[in-house]
Each structure stands twice: as structure tokens, then as C-alpha cells.
């Protein structure tokens, strides 16, 4: 179905839920990278 621009129902529930999950996963991934970095810094010193 073609989405009509300018209306809220252009969001589908599936896209919204997957979107929120992806958006919340992003900081979690950054946090894991930071943890690895912290571990590395402490190990090196």
C-alpha cells in the first residue's frame, strides 16, 4: 500500500517497534565499545 504523506498512520506497528528496538540498541552497542575501551586502557596501564 502506498503511504500517504503527512499523516501519522504512515507508521506501521512493525516498523515502529523495530525502530524503537534499533534506536535503543544503538546506545547499548556504544556502551559495549566503551566497556572494551575501558578494559583495554586499564590493561595497558
Amino acid at each position: 500500500m502506498k503511504r500517504e504523506p503527512g499523516r501519522h498512520h504512515l507508521f506501521t506497528w512493525q516498523d515502529v517497534l523495530l525502530g524503537i528496538a534499533a534506536e535503543l540498541a544503538y546506545p547499548a552497542v556504544l556502551g559495549l565499545v566503551a566497556f572494551f575501551l575501558a578494559w583495554l586502557v586499564v590493561r595497558v596501564r
Binding site: H8, P27, A28, L30, F35, A38, V41
Partner: protein, 503 residues
């Protein structure tokens, strides 16, 4: 010859009309704390809100009554002046319930806290926060939640069906990207995204509250408030110890998810929600945030490791990285005491946080600071210049970036980005100078000024009810100008100047 046109009566009518609508919107928002106060039988607080609501409506409808413009179309100057002026009037009206609560030493302190909330900064001058009523706490968090979306966005969503030239007010509030062709639909979409997140965030934060032993009503009330403050990158909390109060790594971790999501561009949310999820890893702001937060994370971690502030990796990360991300997204949730920042954190770690606070979150979001878009644009412009130097003289060097769609880098956007960054830096310098004049050490004044400039709200102890009125007033102006990204504030000043010297 320079020609400055003196404003006409019609200019004042248009500005009065739209300011009236926005103040009415703020009055409507007072229903949330009023109902909260009634639900918890806080009768005196409810009366305070009835009085404040009446004042807001008298002022709002009074302005509508006396203004009555012939045309509702807005010029650029009018739109910009409405945006900046309504935030000032909103500050005064919003401070009424605070002042009536007797939790403030002066009206200036109450106004400071309103501006701090509206601009999603999060610095507080409130007294005895731990014993504040639920009604006042609801107002504090509603203010910051509204401020995150924007007062103009609120009015566009709920009070205006369609307004010719409303886009100019919307731009005045530092939002220059339309998600949809129609600005009213854009405003509604911003609210749709925020309200859906409000449901998800309150539920999750409330469940974590339950898991750490809070009573159900309290857990979900705190969950709602902490979500509102996190999503709007505001940093208020219902307890004076901020998120440190909860003593839970899980609680802190969940706040990170929501304040990072809150610092995303609403355009990015929109793109991801209509299925373009790869925008999360391609968007210039998301990439910029990932790079700067990782690099500055390394700086803070190395700094704390050098100063030996924390004993192990887990604590170092929980305290150090949390504060960095809280500063970078301009949230200002604090999991350590302010004086620890000033006295126990080394210079290197502090430098990392100061830089992050100035960089800030994304454009068209609830966040402050330079914004990732401008950092990305300036970096791209630098790359373009180097490529130009290396390329043959006749070659045309084109630089592109992903910002909801592929965009070609233009000199005009780079100039604009550099100008705004220079203004932020100048304001940071001014705030530091006033801090030092007020008697604070330069290191502490630099940190606090960066926090105010970026609308962050982390504090190393400078901000308190005891600080001089000059510094409070300076910080209020800085928070306001920083949140509006200067242009509409400059338009308001220009408008006043034109009134005095125009022809």
C-alpha cells in the same frame, strides 16, 4: 545607507496574538500538575496551580483580545520574535507555581529553574527538593518535557489547525528540519514520537523501580519523571541526589537508553520509524556522535585511570562513562556528587566532559550544544579543503553527507555552522568570565559555563541559590540563547533596536 524599519502596530498585534496562543498552551499544560496535586490530596498545591492557571489564561486570552491582527501570516522577524519572546513570558508565568510553593528564596530563583527546565538544562536552585510535593515535581518534569519538544511545537500541535507562516515560528525555536511538508503535521509527528516513547519509557523505568524495591505508585511516578527528564535531555530528578539516589546500575543503564534516544534528531526517529533503519548507522549526526563519544570516552577513562579516582573498570565505567554520555547528550543526569567532579576528577577527565558538553546532541532534537550536524559539517568542510588542495586546479571537489537523504555540502551551510559554533564559544567565554568575576575558580567556572552553554545541567557545585544574582541572570540568558540557537534571540534584540532607532 542602512535602513532599519521601525515596527508597526500590526507587528505587535501579530506577535501578541501568537504569544497569547503559546501562553494559553502553557496554561493548559498546568492541568497535569493540578490533576496530580488533586489526586494526591495536595490541596494547597492545587490552589497554587489554579491561581497560576488563571494568570496564564488571563494573560493569554488578554493578549488575544487586544492583539487581533488583520492578517495571521507571519514574517520571518515576527516568527523569530514570537519564538524567543514567548519563552521569556513563559518563564515568568511558569515560575508562578514555583514561587507560590515556598521552595524558592526569590522569584529570580524560580524563574531560573523554569528556564532551566524549558531549555532542558537541568540546573536547579530549588530548596529542600527531597520534600517537594508531587504536584510541583510533576510541573518541573512537564516543563522540561514540553521544553524538549518546544513551546511552539506544543501550540502548533494542540492549538493551531493551520497557520500561514507558522514554519517561521518553528524555525525560531531552533528546529529547521520539517519531517513532513506541513509544519503542523511535523509538530504532531514530533508529539506522536515523544508520547509513544513516554509510554514505553515510563513502563520500563517504572518496572526497574519496582525491581529495586520502590513502592508501585512511587516507582511509576519516578519512572515517569525520570523518563521525561531523560528523553528531553533535561536532567531533572525528583530527589536532590539525582540518579545517584536510586543506587542501581540497572536504573542508570535504562536512563542511558532513553536520554541517548532523546538526543536523536526527530528526523532520524521519523526515518527509522518508517522503516529506514540503516539511517541510524549512516546519518551524519549518528556517526558523529558514535565517533566523538568513543574518542571522548577514551579521554575520560584515561583521565580517571590516571587520577586513580575509581578502583576498578566497572566503577570507572559506571561513573565516568555515564557522566560523559550524560554530558554529551546534554542531559545532565549525575551519578556522583558535584564536588567530586570539582575535587576528585582529574583535569583530563574534566576536559573530556567539557568538550562533550559543548559538542552536544543532534539538531532538531531535545538536546543542546553545537550539535552533531555542525560538528559533522565542519569536519566534512575540512576534508573538502584538503581534497581541494590535493586535486588538480581545474577539478571540482564535491563532498556529500547523509542527513535523512544524501546532501551535497554547500559553503552556505558550512558558514552557518561555523557562525553558530563561534557564537556558542563566545557565550561559553562570557559565562566563564562572569563566573570568575563572581568569585569562582576558573576551572569550575569553565565547567559550569560549558554546562549552561550546552543546556546540559551537570554541575560541579557553582550553581546554588547562594550564587550572585548577576551570575543567575547571566546563566538564564545563556540557557535561553543556547536553546534558541541565537538567531531568534538576535531577532528579538534587533526588533527592540528597530523600535528605538528605526525610521
Amino acid at each position: 545607507m542602512r535602513l532599519v524599519r521601525r515596527p508597526h502596530l500590526e507587528d505587535f498585534r501579530v506577535i501578541g496574538h501568537y504569544t497569547g496562543i503559546i501562553i494559553n498552551g502553557l496554561g493548559l499544560a498546568m492541568l497535569a500538575p493540578l490533576l496530580t496535586a488533586l489526586a494526591f490530596a495536595e490541596w494547597a498545591v492545587a490552589v497554587d496551580f489554579v491561581i497560576s492557571l488563571a494568570v496564564a489564561f488571563i494573560l493569554g486570552y488578554g493578549l488575544l483580545l487586544v492583539s487581533r491582527p488583520r492578517r495571521h501570516d507571519l514574517s520571518w522577524v515576527q516568527g523569530m520574535v514570537v519564538a524567543s519572546f514567548s519563552w521569556l513570558v513563559g518563564m515568568v508565568v511558569g515560575a508562578l507555581p514555583y514561587y507560590l510553593s515556598f521552595h524558592y528564596r526569590s522569584f529570580l530563583d524560580a524563574a531560573f529553574d523554569v528556564m532551566s527546565g524549558f531549555t532542558t538544562t537541568g540546573l536547579v536552585l530549588i530548596q529542600d527538593l527531597d520534600h517537594v510535593s508531587n504536584g510541583i515535581n510533576m510541573w518541573r518534569h512537564v516543563l522540561t518535557y514540553l521544553g524538549g519538544q518546544g513551546m511552539v511545537v506544543l501550540a502548533l500541535t494542540f492549538l493551531l489547525q493551520d497557520a500561514a507562516g507558522a514554519f517561521k515560528m518553528y524555525v525560531g525555536e531552533a528546529k529547521d528540519e520539517r519531517l513532513l511538508p506541513n509544519v503542523v503535521h511535523t509538530a504532531r509527528t514530533i508529539w506522536y514520537i515523544s508520547l509513544l516513547y513516554l509510554a514505553v519509557g515510563t513502563l520500563l523505568q517504572g518496572l526497574v523501580g519496582l525491581s529495586i524495591g520502590m513502592q508501585p505508585v512511587r516507582a511509576f511516578l519516578h519512572g515517569l519523571w525520570i523518563f521525561m527528564a531523560g528523553w528531553s535531555t533535561g536532567g531533572f530528578a525528583p530527589m536532590s541526589q539525582n540518579v545517584l539516589y536510586y543506587h542501581s546500575a540497572l536504573f542508570e543503564a535504562v536512563t542511558v537508553l532513553f536520554f541517548v534516544a532523546g538526543s536523536y534528531n526527530f528526523g532520524l526517529h521519523y526515518a527509522v520509524w518508517v522503516g529506514k533503519r540503516d539511517e541510524l548507522v549512516r546519518n551524519i549526526e549518528a556517526v558523529s556522535f558514535a565517533i566523538t563519544s568513543t574518542l571522548l570516552g577514551a579521554v575520560v577513562i584515561a583521565g580517571l585511570e590516571r587520577s586513580g579516582t575509581y578502583a576498578n573498570v566497572a566503577t570507572l565505567l559506571r561513573k565516568g562513562y555515564y557522566l560523559l554520555i550524560s554530558g554529551h547528550t546534554t542531559t545532565g543526569f549525575q551519578s556522583i556528587y558535584g564536588r567530586q567532579l570539582a575535587l576528585e576528577w582529574g583535569d583530563l577527565a574534566l576536559l573530556g566532559v567539557i568538550t562533550a558538553m559543548l559538542f552536544g546532541g543532534s539538531a532538531v532534537s531535545t538536546a543542546g550544544g553545537f550539535k552533531g550536524l555542525r560538528i559533522g559539517l565542519i569536519f566534512k568542510a575540512l576534508v573538502q579543503e584538503v581534497r581541494r588542495l590535493l586535486a588538480p586546479e581545474s577539478a571540482v571537489v564535491v563532498e556529500k553527507f547523509q542527513y535523512m537523504r544524501e546532501v551535497v555540502l554547500e559553503d552556505g551551510s558550512v558558514r552557518n555552522a561555523l557562525l553558530i559554533v563561534v557564537l556558542y564559544l563566545a557565550m561559553w567565554g562570557l559565562g566563564t568570565a562572569v563566573g570568575v568575576i563572581s568569585g569562582f575558580p576558573v576551572r569550575e567556572a569553565l565547567f559550569e559555563s560549558a554546562s549552561v552553554t550546552g543546556n546540559v545541567g551537570l554541575s560541579d557545585g557553582v550553581t546554588s541559590a547562594a550564587m550572585p544574582s548577576l551570575l543567575k541572570t547571566t546563566y538564564i540568558v545563556m540557557m535561553w540563547a543556547g536553546r534558541m540557537e541565537f538567531m531568534s534571540v538576535l531577532a528579538l534584540l534587533g526588533f527592540i533596536w528597530a523600535g528605538v532607532r528605526g525610521k
